[in-house]
Amino acid sequence: MLLQVDGLRKTFGRRVAVDGVGFSLDVGEIVGFLGPNGAGKTTTMRMIAGYLEPDEGAAKIFNIDVARERRRAQERLGYLPEGAPLYGEMTPWSFLRFVAETRGMAREAARHAVRRAAQDARLGDSINRPIDTLSKGYRRRVGLASALLHDPLLLVLDEPTDGLDPNQRHAVRDLIRKLGEDRGLILSTHSLEEVEAVCTRAIIIDQGRIVADQSPAALREQHGSLEAAFETLTRGEERA
């Protein structure tokens, strides 16, 4: 099993952000993580990536507990944080070299990995321009490349297409589809159309709990459309 999540729970002060989330993921699956803002998507992904420690429950990557053996688990995971934070004064090339070397790759291996990831993420010829001068879509691709550097089998992408124009979104989706052929992916998104387009499975989360975990086709069959499913299953902050 690529990823096994059991009873994850996280509270911030008195607010329960994630309340007993559990699911598992295998190679070849592309899971769409759906839910209103504040439903707990990002918190769940952060716990899988080892950025936050769960209060209860565990996330296991290849049966390695993320909280107990953080570094061993993180070696096997590619993670794109929300908003894809980068170091603006660096170029994509030096940034990716930095990530590869922090991951412990030797010089030659790092150079190789950067070249391959840059190609996979289609960074093209802007690789030597400062990140601050690049467009949002391009920066997102740099973030994706950094998640792909060590060729992980599991990818966790927090809103990989947020804020991109339709062409850029299309390119990222193609890449995700291609990556999903021989890997396992979780991506959070606000676009239901995106789930239809790339995901093999949709997990809808609301107020920290999973309210649906089915294929997009099954959801559509039950509720008529994904929009209808989303609306009936989630209450979000507005109607809570």
Partner: protein, 251 residues
Amino acid sequence: MKKRPGLASMTAVYRRELLSYLTTPTAYVFVAVFLFAIGLFTFQVGGFFEQRRAELSSAFFSFHPWLFMVFLPAVAMRLWAEETRSGAIELLLTLPAPTWSLVLGKFLAAWTIAAAALLLTTPLWMTVNFLGAADNAAIFTAYLGSLLMAGAYIAIGSAMSALTPAQIVAFVLAVLASFLLTALGLPLVLDFFTSFVGGGVAEALARFSILHHFDAAQRGVVEFRSVFYFLSLIGLCLSFTALAVDARRGG
């Protein structure tokens, strides 16, 4: 050749941090201001020429704690605060690197900037030799002592920077902490404490001050306990930094 994972991440973080100091104007501005200030103090306040002696201790090194106290928190303030503000901390903490390697890499980069600033004051050393027979061994020792002390101030700055996403808050906290730790040894402060807690306690407190431990070093005397004091101070502050960084994972 596969390097040890912690060391490899430390080197990578060190290189990135140093590069970021060198590609942004802030480090240059700080170093320039430091050099200007140390020159001003040495010649105007310290009376370097008026003392008519070929030594650097009273006119030059004695001002180091006071200038470092303001200058080095400014160098160190961005180390962690900026990562938190920009969100890049999430990137850093989701890489399979031990926390100590990140803390140490950043600390060493800031320390290198301090070392560069010190190195740029060496023309003064040459001047002293030109003017008379200077005790070069003593000056060299004083420089090493100053470098070690700079490490302590940077470590304090790093710890404060890990506490807040606002660089300016980190700066103010670090200056405050540095001032307290420096001035504990001053007669003025000592007298003040003596009236409250008695001479014994005040005397003991003074032994923990940076001034107390830099006193011998600035005259060119190596005291093992002072080396030990500065190294422990660095170790303590960096451990605190690592704890503060790791505490984020708890939410």
